[in-house]
């Protein structure tokens, strides 16, 4: 496998006023690798993702994507660079259909007339079907608006976006948190498809079974700091071990003295 580093963060830090939501996170992701980020509520998982995807501006630290330092002003910058994110709150427009949502903000056009450019509906539909096929997403009618879809279908649409644009990195923030058993299985299948295609992924999840099924590596966050980096594919690590890192019963040696020392400024 190509071991090229796709994403690296050095000393990534985010303070919200006096709250240290993320403190000195050093993280690397190699090509084709699926990494799960785990941690309790408020541990800084979503904060970490928001810094990488340009939703928020970091307080300090460096992000190196594809070998060069990046500074995303907004989610669109990150997306253009090739980082596709499925947010916890699905960023879908309820009244629009599947192709409209997949291509929202980067519509295919037929004539360029600035903001009044004419949309190329046919190409968008064709590429949507193609993307759904690649990811194995099943949606009965792509012309149906999102409002009329089930939670699982919505999630699939959000994930299919990543496949449509052949992104270099996919980030999923609790993609199955609100889904039923069957729908969860469908989403997990899509994630396996990404793995087979060699696409790197950062998965945020609370579901231990899911993480052990899908991820190569688990990074545990606690009170805004990374406290463990576990190679669950090659080392003998159980769910209970991970739980003990999450709850703070254990901290990996290399992270000792940093994790959990303080989370709130005086």
């Amino acid at each position: 496998m190509n071991d090229e580093i796709v994403l690296e963060t050095r000393d990534l830090t985010k303070h919200y006023g006096g709250v240290f939501a993320l403190e000195g996170a050093d993280f690397t992701l190699r090509n084709g690798e699926h990494v799960a980020i785990m941690g309790d509520n408020g541990a800084g998982k979503s904060t970490f993702v928001r810094q990488i995807t340009g939703v928020e501006q970091r307080t300090r630290g460096e992000i190196i994507f594809n070998g060069s330092p990046v500074h995303f002003e907004n989610p669109m910058d990150a997306r253009e660079a090739g980082i596709e994110t499925v947010f916890q709150t699905l960023a879908l427009a309820d009244e629009l259909d599947v192709p409209d949502n997949l291509f929202l903000g980067r519509e295919l056009i037929r004539f360029n007339l600035g903001p009044f450019s004419i949309l190329d509906y046919r190409s968008m539909r064709e590429r949507t079907l193609q993307a759904l096929q690649e990811t194995g997403v099943k949606i009965p009618n792509i012309r149906n608006i999102i409002r009329n879809m089930s939670g699982g279908q919505r999630q699939c649409v959000a994930i299919a976006r990543t496949a449509t644009f052949h992104s270099k990195l996919t980030i999923m923030d609790e993609p199955t948190a609100a889904l039923g058993v069957q729908e969860t299985a469908q989403v997990e299948n899509i994630i396996r498809t990404l793995k087979d295609q060699g696409d790197p992924l950062i998965l945020i999840s609370h579901n231990m079974r899911q993480v052990f099924d899908l991820a190569d590596r688990v990074v545990v966050l606690r009170r805004g700091r990374i406290c463990a980096n576990l190679d669950i594919r090659n080392e003998d690590i159980t769910g209970e071990d991970v739980v003990s890192y999450i709850t703070g019963a254990r901290t990996q040696r290399e992270y000792e003295g940093t994790a959990g020392t303080h989370s709130v400024a005086a």
Binding site: E95, L96, G105, I109
Partner: protein, 360 residues
Amino acid sequence: MNKVVYGTAGQTYDHKKRALPPELGIFIALLVIVAIFELLGALFVGQSLLFDTKGRFDGPLGLFNVARLKIMILQVSIIGIIAIGSTQVIISGGIDLSPGSVVGISGMIAMSFAQVAEVNGLPNPKPVFGAWAQDIPALVPIIVGLCVGLAAGLVNGALIAYTRIPPFIATLGMMVFARGAAKWWTKGEPVSFPSESFAAIGSGMMPVVIFVSLAILFHIVLKYTVYGKHTYAVGSNEDAARMSGIKIQRHKMMVYAIAGLLAATASIVLCSKNLTAQSGMGIMYELDAIAMTVIGGVSLSGGRGSIVGTVLGALIFGVIISGFTFLRLDAFYQEMVKGFIIVSAVVLDQWRQQRAAARS
């Protein structure tokens, strides 16, 4: 239960789930209202509302009472132009209360540049400006009027996009301000005696031609352009639109600017048709325009609706106004019924939405 066939890869297409266009319901409502008036007409007046009962089947529309049809569309076309602007504002999740007053101020200012120097061989009795602004091409007042509308729209848009105050408040402010400005412009005096070329804009059936052309143009803009798609997206889920990289602030500025331009267009047509501009003109137009859009199925919560719906809403308005005159009923019944129809349109739309959600 609707049986959904799952294929291998999302390519299956359940044709049964393809809902009928929402505009169809409004069209049926229009037919029902026409039918009610036809029935009442046959019972109480002994006439038909829309059809030519005198047996003069001449011309392509010979079957219909063409004169009444013309009046019916003519009387809603000026507010209809405003309603086109309101439609896209409401689809974007906003509301615009200012068009009525923008009609006032842009008409007053535009008309000041459209006056003639001489009336019946005598100097213009009430010139706003000196000779330099008299007998000039109609293009000048048109451009001036549009600029005033554009400016009002841009101020609305800027207030909403950058100060983040609710659109209701921002445009309420503009509504009060622009009305005051319209009165201040000539200290309340009407501005009259436009040039012939300016008077031609709103003469005869021109308002209908302008309304229909703009309706077609904005139907295309909303359905087939990036601007239209983004308008629906912003109204549907503003956060999603932002995450998708749509420049929300710039987009809102454009939406309100276009609404302002359309209000000014309506104003120019109205002044030209009436051959005068008055500071009080356009009062309540914004509410009629909003009512047309709501009857036409545009959702006040944003993201949903179409120009086709709004045009049908305008026609429903026209039928009601004509129908009441036709039945020789007083105008106040008209307004009571209009109020009733506005509320029923929204209630029906919500039922329809709930049913659609339950089906899938």
